[in-house]
């Protein structure tokens, strides 16, 4: 019933959004005193664009460390290369929840972080000239998981071989190029389009950003990093599906991603938006319940080992507890928050075949 009332109001707010260029008070009867355009501006200028720029810098540093290693391969240059790699991977976690627009079209997330990586395909590609990284079939042979395998996957480091060094550098260059394309798209006009599209239709920026954010949370943070390896979607746990399997720091990546997701909610407008609408659930502010649940997830995560492969193999129950906490937040975000903000979910779970 509620949904239909909202649907009836939708055309009203869309029309107002079109005619009122001043912004800020175009929210109609639903949203009394909240500046949607200001929130979008902070999302673009304080979250999305900085995340792309920081990521670009971290990949540039990785590229330089790669060049230094290639010029003089030894323990010291390898250590620098590995630490630059970790810094770039962490930086990607802060960007990942906010890959939208051009980034979605380019499949930036898939190409940067599909794991487990395809070791056999990497070996084939290393032996092949002119590999086309645009091909979807090469998705699992590039990005961070492939780089991680080259750095940590074998006891005799593959990177002593020039062919593997070339492949490594080609993958780094590809990450740079993809990020540069997305950033360039934002900087050459899309930022303004994004901010001005401040209505509340299904294609408006707030609806799409929030949908992408929750989609990321559900599919990649909850399921990808924890649920799939813990065996939630299979008969048995799958320790080989963890992120950073070879480097062994799954927890650090998870926590970085969780922090980025949490800060986006608490510090960049969604919490304030819910409070402006005075959204309560069982008497308490919904925003506080969401913030509390983020804290619960952090607590559950703090008890984990660094390596989720080890975690899944030795104490999967602890992983299941972490998953349960993550799952509780899905309900708060996807059901309660979206209903309060009159945003419809724009994605469905694929049926998997």
């Amino acid at each position: 019933m509620n949904r239909f009332v909202i649907l009836l109001l939708l055309p009203l707010s869309v029309f107002t959004a079109c005619t009122d260029n001043a912004g800020g008070d175009d929210d109609g009867p639903l949203l009394p005193s909240f500046d949607r355009r200001a929130m979008l501006t902070s999302w673009a200028d304080e979250v999305i664009l900085p995340a792309h720029r920081d990521f670009g810098s971290s990949v540039t540093a990785l590229s330089q460390a790669g060049d230094a290693f290639r010029a003089a391969p030894d323990q010291a240059t390898l250590a620098t290369l590995q630490s630059s790699f970790k810094a770039a991977y962490l930086s990607f976690q802060r960007l990942d929840p906010f890959i939208l627009g051009e980034g979605e079209i380019l499949r930036f997330r898939e190409q940067a972080n599909t794991y487990p990586t395809d070791i056999a395909l990497i070996a084939d590609n290393v032996a092949t000239d002119g590999v086309n990284f645009d091909l979807p079939s090469n998705t699992a042979a590039q990005g961070f998981p492939a780089l991680e395998y080259l750095l940590y996957g074998t006891t005799e480091t593959l990177l002593n071989e020039p062919a593997y060094q070339d492949y490594f550098m080609a993958l780094v260059t590809r990450l740079q190029d993809l990020n540069a394309q997305v950033l360039d798209h934002w900087e050459s006009g899309y930022r303004e389009v994004y901010i001005q599209n401040d209505g509340n239709s299904a294609t408006a920026s707030i609806d799409r950003t929030v949908n992408d954010y929750i989609f990321y949370y559900e599919r990649f943070l909850r399921a990808g990093k924890v649920g799939i390896p813990a065996g939630i979607f299979s008969d048995d746990p799958l320790p080989d599906r963890v992120e950073a399997r070879y480097a062994g720091y799954s927890k650090a990546l998870f926590q970085e991603a969780l922090l980025a997701t949490q800060q986006f909610f608490t510090e960049q407008g969604l919490k304030q938006y819910l409070d402006a609408l005075e959204v309560r659930r069982d008497g308490a502010f919904l925003s506080e319940q969401i913030a509390d649940q983020f804290a619960e997830i952090s607590r559950a995560s703090a008890q984990q080992l660094d390596s989720y492969e080890e975690m899944v193999s030795t104490d999967n129950e602890s992983m299941l507890r972490l998953y349960d906490e993550l799952q509780k937040l899905v309900v708060l975000l996807k059901v309660d928050m979206l209903q309060a903000l009159s945003i419809n979910v724009d994605y469905v779970d694929a049926d998997g075949d």
Partner: protein, 395 residues
């Protein structure tokens, strides 16, 4: 004068007939699992169906194995003698084949070999086109007018120049053309169950030579086998429903998992048990009532999946950004389920051909340029034909 006598006489007869049926209903002993025995030995047998399901699974997988050839795929389809096209010695040693049972039911094709040949030619053509059109472009990005790869999430799909995945068209069409057609239009048909002296033999408990089952019992089991023949425990086929094979079993599970249709799988399984018990009891009217239930529910499974995939395809085509890989995958599966509808009651082949032509959009860019409005009205037309709601079937 004659009129005044005949009317009460007819009424009396009618009462007697109804009375007989009621008597039959009350004596059926239905076991809790699909287990039937004579003299302490099981009478249940459907190994031929299990074999064909395994062959079909291998063939569909082979369609995206780029080391395959036209001849290799066709040998798998026909199980050509001497070619050993399958991965196991058991399948290679079998005399069964997939192709000989495609569009081969008594009810639909006994006197219609023209259409049978045309349908088999469609399946042959998908195999051939996969090798000729898609294999050479396996390392090309697909675009309108160009076969090749498309990303669907982290999966890679291989499509023709119109965006159609031949392997999906083939696999999903087989669900109607082999599994449903054999199950519903052949083995559950009275013309097969009651063929020759089957009723008298069954009444007398006369088993087929070298076996422990009557001919009628076996026919019914063969129907069961096209749905449940790959189950780990055939007596309890709901235990691994959906995981047993990639065909009718899998999609019955999918429909059963939709809250709008929950219970359909248990209903079908129960009808199979009840009908089989009715055969043991010699109650052929009850047998046919259960057969009609199974047919109607499986017909619904095919129609629901057709509507589901078209609706999902429409959502993906109207997403921002457009999810071509996801949409084309859905539409390719939908293509196969629509093709399968030519084997069910209530719609003629010409109508199905029209739906397929609308979906394929072959003359103006294929799936790449298919207007979502065209797709939505096609979805609505199919839903209406089968008395379904797009909202219920489409999620």
């Amino acid at each position: 004068m004659t009129h005044t006598y005949s009317l009460p006489l007819l009424l009396l007869l009618a009462v007697l007939l109804v009375g007989c049926q009621d008597d039959d209903d009350t004596i059926l002993d239905v076991p809790t699992s699909y287990s039937f025995a004579r003299n302490g030995q099981s009478t249940v047998s459907y190994s031929g169906q299990t074999t064909r399901l395994a062959m079909a699974d291998e063939l569909v997988a082979a369609m995206t194995n780029f080391d395959q050839t036209e001849a290799g795929l066709e040998n798998m389809f026909r199980n050509t003698a001497g070619t050993n096209p399958f991965s196991t010695a058991e399948l290679n040693a079998s005399t069964k084949s997939i192709r000989s049972k495609v569009a081969a039911s008594r009810d639909l094709f006994f006197t219609n070999t023209t259409e049978q040949a045309a349908i088999r030619a469609d399946f042959d053509a998908w195999l051939t086109a996969q090798v000729r059109e898609v294999f050479p472009n396996r390392n090309t990005l697909a675009a309108q007018g160009t076969a090749g790869q498309l990303a669907d999430g982290s999966s890679t799909r291989y499509v023709n120049a119109n965006g159609l995945e031949y392997n999906q068209a083939f696999g999903k069409s087989l669900i109607g053309g082999l599994m449903y057609d054999q199950l519903a239009n052949n083995y559950l048909s009275p013309s097969v169950l009651d063929e020759g002296t089957n009723q008298a033999d069954n009444d007398a408990g006369l088993v087929e030579e070298g076996t422990n089952y009557t001919s009628m019992e076996h026919k019914w089991d063969e129907a069961f086998g096209y749905l449940f023949g790959a189950a780990a425990d055939g007596a309890r086929p709901l235990d691994d429903l959906g995981a047993a094979d990639g065909f009718l079993n899998k999609y019955l599970s999918r429909v059963d998992n939709d809250a709008d249709y929950t219970g359909i799988a248990a209903r079908i399984e129960e009808a199979f048990r009840t009908g089989r018990a009715a055969i043991v009891a010699g109650d052929y009217a009850e047998r046919d009532r259960q057969a009609a239930r199974i047919k109607e529910d499986l017909r619904k499974v095919l129609a629901v999946r057709a509507v589901y995939y078209l609706h999902q395809g429409s959502l993906a085509l109207t997403a921002t950004p457009v999810n071509y890989g996801g949409a084309f995958h859905d539409l390719s599966e939908g293509y196969g389920f629509i093709y399968s509808l030519r084997f069910v009651d209530g719609v003629d082949a010409a109508t199905v051909d029209g739906w397929l032509a609308d979906l394929t959009n072959a003359d103006s860019g294929g799936f790449w340029t298919l207007p979502p409005a065209t797709l939505d009205s096609l979805t609505a037309a199919i839903a209406t034909t089968f008395n379904l709601s797009v909202a219920e079937a489409g999620n």
